[in-house]
Amino acid sequence: MTKRGLRGDLTRWLVSLPPTVFLLVFFLAPTLIMVTASFQNPGEFGGLAPLFAEGQARLTLETYRFFFGDWIYAEIFLRSFLVAGATTLICLIFAYPLALTIAASPKRHRDLLVLLVILPFASNFLIRVYAWIILLGPAGLLYTPIAVIAGMVYVHLPFMILPLYTNLEKHDPTLLEAAQDLGAGAWTRFWRVTWPLSLPGIWSGTALVFIPVLGMFAIPELLGGTGDILIGNLIKEQFLESRDWPLGSTLSLLLTLAVLALAALSAWAASPRRQRS
């Protein structure tokens, strides 16, 4: 190996090792701990029972048996997916006209219009939820599923608007002109040209909204009523109320798997290769 090659190797490791080690220790290791925790027994006062006792590993499938023992927990997963789905859909309905308008406005105005979308989100997340407590209280809508969805949409809307706008802005206007020349009406032009071209933007927006909603606990807690419990609330409850860490870990692990599957799905759906075929 040449001297330069050696030095190049050294540089490469010097640069890549610190962040890699940091993330291996503080991201990957904790995730793996979560996996083992889901097979451990709960500790008497909380936390986990020791992994090794009397020279033997104490692992159990009890928590999984408990989870799959009845439909309650699966039902909460299902419900969370429904709420996430509804939120994503409403975000899309709200975001599309706005993104379209910004993309269609003169170039010099676009940055300002985008900035106006981002600005409200420079305020703290809790303040945005708090605003809805004040707004919905007198209307008698606080503590209802509507309040939860309103809060979810409000908090996640820009994550739909921005990727959508980024996509729409790139569209070639001549395509629409060509369609018009061929006699396509406004609706046909949208449905046959703009919409299919915007699908990658929609898919990335969907991932950016759907996934965080799945893990949300503060919004159902502050705005929701008696039945508004999502996976996030359930996980939080196991760690910070019921002191059942194995169950909390199992729930977290299943949520992680669901999220990874969704992310892979949306990446596949948004990939240019698929769009072409």
């Binding site: 610190p18 503080f26 904790p30 980024t166 629409l176 893990g215 760690f239």
Partner: protein, 262 residues
């Protein structure tokens, strides 16, 4: 595109209203002369006076600021390294690096919070506090910095670096004199991004916070949960004013950093 339709503009305006109306209500009630955010009674600034006399709130704000500055600095260094590594050496073992760097960004925050809590408690036996919060904030910020820095590097011509090498520059010199100045705006944007993420974070901090290190979002959360006091509105209004000012300054200093790059 010249096919603008009035209803499209109407819809867009309605969405803008949806974005701003709730926050306007928060601001208006911060000047309301009533303990309850229920109806308008009269104008007052007493909630602001109360806020500035509230030691716990000010202390929480100072905590948040210190944590955000420290976490953002460390995350910027590590994230820049990760961004460079991802762009320059996408081969060998390092092929797995993007996965490691980007997954924390994509995960729901609660998962990061819970797994770090488990790790601190069961493996490190760490007392929750400043350190645990810092580690958590750095962990979720690295990915954001890396994405921005990598995007900046990706737009560059590889031949500049080759030229520097051919002229006999060491890797360090190449980095100091060529790479760094070129990616500086990306690094700055990454720093600002992680600073904002850290100061705004509630969910992860909620799990890993310990004794005596309450951050501003945690303080706001406990206030919202207990009793609605216009003091919360006042602190919200001030925070919004602060962010607006920061954004204004940033747009003057680095106009590019705010643009959404397609």
């Amino acid at each position: 595109m010249k096919h603008r339709t009035p209803w499209l503009w109407g819809a867009a305006l309605a969405v803008y209203a949806f974005l701003y109306l709730p926050l306007a209500v928060v601001v208006i009630f911060s000047f309301n002369d009533s303990q309850l955010n229920a109806q308008w009674v009269g104008f007052t600034t007493r909630w602001y006076a109360k806020l500035f006399a509230d030691g716990e709130m000010l202390h929480a704000a100072a905590n948040s600021l210190a944590i955000a500055l420290t976490a953002a600095s460390v995350a910027t260094v590590l994230g820049t390294m990760a961004g460079i590594a991802m762009q320059r050496w996408p081969t060998g073992v390092l092929r797995a690096l993007p996965g490691l760097v980007l997954t924390p960004v994509a995960m729901p925050e609660i998962l990061l919070g819970v797994s770090l809590l488990l790790f601190f408690r069961e493996v490190l036996d760490l007392t929750l506090g400043l350190v645990s919060i810092l580690v958590a904030h750095i962990t979720f910020s690295i990915g954001f910095v890396a994405i921005i820095v990598r995007a900046r590097l990706a737009g560059m011509d590889e031949s500049i670096f080759e030229a520097a090498r051919d002229l006999g520059a060491s890797p360090w010199q190449t980095f100091r004199c060529v790479t760094l100045p070129l990616i500086a705006p990306g690094i700055l944007a990454g720093f600002l991004m992680s600073f904002t993420l850290s100061i705004d974070d509630f969910v992860i901090t909620f799990f890993v916070a310990g004794v005596g290190v309450t951050t501003l979002p945690l303080q706001i959360y406990s206030m919202i949960k207990v009793a609605v006091s216009p003091e919360v509105n006042a602190v919200s209004t001030l925070l919004m004013a602060l962010t607006l000012t920061l954004i204004f300054i940033a747009s003057r200093l680095a106009p590019d950093a705010l643009k959404v790059k397609p």
